[in-house]
């Protein structure tokens, strides 16, 4: 059985009962340990889909099963949220404590764990995210990237088996972005199931499978490699905008140049055309 299973989901916001459906007929299975990206333009429904996976939203039709638990089952909601952690775009919105250490301890403290266990989990989470040196630092003195790592650490201390990242890098500068992306890959290597919601096509390359949402429906379920083979025009039709390098490759192909399918970075392209001796 899949780890997360969405069966024929419809969704609209409860506060807007007369509006159109935000998600229509979504079926999706995610296996344990998988690294899945969800990509789509703004308001394509990708954040909503993420939130259905840890019972922040409940479907109006269909079922979401997380590790055998139905999100509609009220008694299971806490267990589901412990299983599936969520990281949002803006870390400032989820940081509450006055020091890094306390922030990371907030979750386990609320689980009423023994002190020893809390200490252990906090240390582990800070080690994993490289925040140990900042244990006593107030979060507002951290850089944007470090704050996002802190948000990750405070979810990690809950020992989730799955983490959903909702555009975790879109507010970060390029340097911090690299730092956070690297961490996400490491977490997956340690066995945590990852769902990465993004609108940056290059980030999709980190995962093994990508889902494209367009106007509330899944229009593609493929490997990142396959996605990068699509022409710029076809991508634009589903409101995806490829990175510059893909635009360049796509134009070169149109001009009749033959470029093998596995090339999606500037260095790949350069060494293909101009191999170093």
């Amino acid at each position: 059985m899949s780890f997360i299973d969405l069966q024929n989901i419809d969704f609209r916001y409860p506060e807007e009962p007369d509006e159109q459906l935000v998600l229509k007929g979504i079926s999706l299975s995610i296996q344990k340990g998988e690294f899945l990206s969800i990509i789509g333009a703004n308001s394509s429904g990708k954040s909503t889909l993420g939130r259905l996976m840890n019972a922040l939203y409940l479907p109006v039709k269909g079922t979401v099963i997380v590790n055998g638990m139905n999100t509609l089952d009220e008694e299971k909601v806490f267990d589901i949220r412990k299983t599936v952690g969520m990281i949002f775009q803006n870390p400032d919105n989820q940081i509450v404590a006055t020091t890094v250490e306390e922030e990371v301890a907030f979750g386990p403290e609320n689980l009423c764990l023994p002190n020893k266990e809390i200490r252990k989990r906090v240390d582990e989470a800070m080690d994993l995210t490289g925040l140990k040196p900042y244990a006593q630092t107030p979060p507002h003195l951290l850089s944007g990237g470090q704050k996002q790592l802190l948000a990750i650490a405070s979810v990690l201390s809950m020992k989730p088996s799955c983490m959903i990242f909702d555009e975790p890098t879109s507010l970060l500068d390029p340097k911090s972005r690299k730092m956070v992306v690297k961490k996400i890959v490491e977490l997956n290597q340690q066995g945590i199931t990852i769902v990465l919601i993004t609108h940056r096509m290059e980030e999709v390359l980190l995962s093994k499978r990508v889902i494209v949402l367009y106007e509330g429906q899944i229009v593609k379920d493929m490997t990142p490699g396959e996605l990068f083979q699509m022409t710029e025009q076809d991508l634009n039709k589903i409101k995806l905008y490829p990175p510059e390098i893909i635009k360049i490759i796509s134009r070169m192909k149109q001009e009749g140049m033959e470029i093998p399918p596995h090339i999606y970075s500037t260095s790949d392209l350069v060494s293909f055309i101009c191999p170093s001796k």
């Binding site: 703004n42 609108h199 360049i248 140049m257 350069v270 101009c274």
Partner: protein, 287 residues
């Protein structure tokens, strides 16, 4: 006519134990009609520099900032009149939306100028039009229920309604999806080319800055590390890498290929032209 900053230094909380140097001897000149890009890491002094340009930060001691030849902090003059020439759109400007309707929000500035109703409305219509929003459709909508891209545009329109001659945009596309980003960039171009408003734009995205800007300032630890025409600046790719910054992807490709083809022109930022250049070189070198 220009904004002129000469040898400007700035220290936050000067004299206190946690004082922080933000600018060291920075000079910049923004000429009328230009699009000027400012790039650099977080904390490199970009924001401090642009906030000097419309008087949000008062220069320390003898340093001066001139807008159209007038000293921003010449006490004999009314600072407001000069500052109004320079409109500022902060990072995530949608966080500053506060009114009940789009019309009121965009009209807030003009209203405070004491303009009459008719004139305010006209300015709101024009400002919304510049960011491709329809006044009739938008005027009664609540800013908080707009999409991210719409909010960003309404916020930019709020500054445009003040009819600035110079418009400063601090990372105008940050956090937007690529589709909306392209639209906003097109609008910025139009505001510059059609309305003649001078643009000063801070960005982390080398691809967009290379395409838009005529001139570029690269900030590093409070110093203007590089400046000049955009293509001349990106041609100094080694220096840029030393500063830990990226170069546009198209430049990366063209520069990489220059190892094989010495004559390739790597100052091209337009993708179609770049591909033509690659094909030209390939033919003339026969590989």
């Amino acid at each position: 006519m220009s904004i002129e900053i000469k040898n400007l230094s700035f220290i936050y909380d000067k004299g206190l134990s946690f004082e922080k140097t933000a600018l060291i001897n920075a000079s910049a000149e923004v000429l009328e009609g230009e699009i000027v890009g400012i790039i650099g890491h977080t904390g490199s002094g970009k924001s401090t520099l642009i906030q000097h340009m419309n008087g949000l930060i008062k220069p320390l001691e003898k340093d001066k900032v001139f807008v159209d030849g007038e000293d921003l902090f010449d006490h004999k003059k009314e600072i407001h009149a000069i500052c109004q020439k320079v409109g500022m759109v902060f990072q995530y400007p949608e966080m500053q939306l506060f009114e009940e309707t789009v019309e009121k929000d965009v009209g807030f500035g003009p209203k405070n100028l004491g303009l009459n109703e008719e004139e305010i409305q006209q300015r709101v219509v024009e400002a919304l039009d510049m960011v491709d929003l329809d006044y009739e459709k938008m005027k009664n909508r609540q800013p908080f229920f707009l999409s991210g891209g719409e909010k960003r545009r309404v916020a930019i329109a709020g500054t445009l309604a003040m009819k600035p001659k110079y418009l400063i945009l601090d990372e105008p596309t940050a956090g937007l999806d690529p589709f909306t980003r392209e639209q906003i960039l097109d609008e910025v171009m139009k505001i510059n080319k059609e309305k003649g408003i001078t643009i000063i734009m801070v960005s982390h995205d080398m691809d967009e800055i290379s395409r838009l800007s005529d001139k570029l300032y690269v900030m590093h630890k409070g110093i203007v590390a590089l400046s000049g025409k955009t293509k001349e600046v990106f041609a100094q790719h080694e220096k840029i890498s030393e500063l830990g910054l990226m170069i546009p992807q198209v430049t990366e490709v063209l520069l990489g290929l220059s190892k094989c083809w010495k004559d390739i022109d790597y100052s091209i930022f337009n993708l179609d032209k770049a591909v033509k250049e690659i094909i030209r070189c390939r033919k003339s070198h026969g590989n």
